[in-house]
Amino acid sequence: MAAILLDPLAAIGRATLGACRTVGGIALFALEAVSHLVRPPFYGRLFARAFLEVAWFSLPVVALTAVFTGMVLALQSYTGFARFNAQSAIASVVVISLVRELGPVLAALMVAGRIGASFAAEIGTMRVTDQIDALTTLSTNPMKYLVAPRLLAATIALPLLVLVADVLGVMGGWLIGTLKLGFVSAAYLKSTFDYLETDDVVSGLVKAAVFGFVIALMGTWCGYNSRGGAQGVGGATTSAVVASSILILALDYVLTEIFFAQ
């Protein structure tokens, strides 16, 4: 009888312990990787390769997402604001929502799908084919060689991608505003920049850097700890994308709360 009552409690306890172990494991993993960024040797070549992969090859996806988001934002805010005769606010609404919120979040989600998955698959395959052990036997620290350059590359690349996304998103809004909603081009651009503050842009870029770090961290961590052949690598890839997407949305709230409180 008591066993039946206690079983669910034991299960909850086990799950909690498991979750704590995982979070602790990820934190230690991140700390170790970051510590390698300040200790030689440095792998510039690997950083460059990862940076190219994250920044350059994600550019088309992120650019398209940004343009369409800007266009939709302009249309939707027109639908709403026309009811209050507040059409003049559209340009500001488009730029502020893009720069503070949608630019970082949407770019990060797109990059999570591309880069999180590819980091997890690449490192996971290296794990299950003993290539990570081989690195160790070849006098190379795998955390330094595989994880640290990817973390740094994604953390730097994401803000740059978001900057591009911001510009292209505003351009999407401007296209709809001038071609479809009848704004005068100069007036639209003026009201875009009139109410935009440096903090809006900076908070968006800080978010982007955090998201970039999280994407690379989940990708490399899931890959590094994958087990059991092709199926294990597949599972690691899925977990990396799901975990980083959820973390991006959760951290977006936390960061917005922090910036909002200031």
């Binding site: 040797p41 003993d130 290539q131 052990d133 081989a134 160790t136 036997t137 070849l138 006098s139 190379t140």
Partner: protein, 280 residues
């Protein structure tokens, strides 16, 4: 050639057969005592005791899943044993600080069971990876050095520019062998170097292993379950069963050693003291 490698050769010669060693060389190169390792409740190593003399060729035999790879991964420091002592040159490596342990790894080479070549790098960078990692060589020189080492394992210079994925199984094994010996280690591990190859290619790889090990004067520990291969590359053999070393003896006596387990394994008989575990 560095002066160090001459010393190694001097030690290597008298130790053939494990007899007649000088007082200097009586410390085994590798000594394992009571090494235990469990994975999630499954006791894989249950007190492994093993001595490998300097310059000796040791083969470890045992069924699939008997813990052969885990044993050498413990020596390499890739797996941390739960208990026990592992000494290299008389020093317990499990107690060494991380930095010194890594330094020890600089003198050890390893050929992994499936090659474990880096598929993102061309063959020549694979071969000279350790030399480049230790900054012992510039990238320009590494290419020439790679061609030299590839020649030692019977591969043409043009192979250096291919990607590992473009190579056949036998060629991949040769490249993996080249990578294991390129930094001139004094201990080399071979994990099933001939598994998955045809018998002729297997014999060729065995020949290369023997040549390379002799040239370096290195201590070699090989895992195999191919008896012909064991006799070719080993002087001494050890058999692992249920997580323990159950027999050690000359490799030449495999099949008529007098130990029922070893002879059953060597002759591939279905009936005998060894029962294949089908669970887990």
């Amino acid at each position: 050639m560095s002066p160090g490698s001459d010393d190694r050769r001097a030690q290597a010669e008298p130790s053939t057969g494990g007899l007649n060693r000088t007082a200097m060389a009586t410390t085994p190169k590798i000594r394992m005592r009571g090494v235990r390792k469990a994975f999630g409740g499954k006791q894989v190593l249950d007190g492994v005791d093993l001595d490998v003399a300097a310059g000796q060729g040791m083969v470890i035999l045992g069924g699939s899943g008997s813990g052969k790879s885990v044993t050498i991964k413990c020596i390499l420091g890739l797996i941390e044993p739960d208990e026990g002592v592992i000494e290299i040159d008389g020093v317990n490596v499990l107690k060494l600080p991380r930095r010194e342990r890594e330094a020890l790894g600089d003198r050890i080479g390893m050929l992994f069971q499936n090659g474990a070549l880096f598929d993102s790098l061309p063959v020549w960078e694979n071969v000279c990876f350790k030399l480049l990692a230790q900054n012992r060589i510039t990238r320009a020189k590494a290419r020439d050095r790679a061609v030299e080492v590839l020649a030692q394992v019977g591969l043409a210079a043009t192979v250096g520019d291919l990607s590992p994925a473009e190579l056949s199984g036998g060629m991949q094994k040769r490249v993996a062998l080249a990578r294991a010996i390129a930094a001139q280690p004094d201990i080399i591990f071979f994990d099933e170097p001939t598994t998955g190859l045809d018998p002729i290619m297997g014999a060729v790889i065995d020949g290369l292993i023997v040549d390379c090990v002799q040239r370096l004067g290195a201590t070699a520990v090989s895992i195999t379950h191919d008896m012909a291969s064991a006799r070719r590359i080993g002087e001494t053999a050890a058999m692992i069963y249920k997580g323990r070393i159950v027999w050690t003896g000359p490799a030449a006596s495999l099949g008529h050693s007098g130990n029922a387990m070893v002879d059953q394994f060597a002759n591939g008989e279905r009936d005998g003291p060894i029962q294949m575990e089908l669970r887990r």
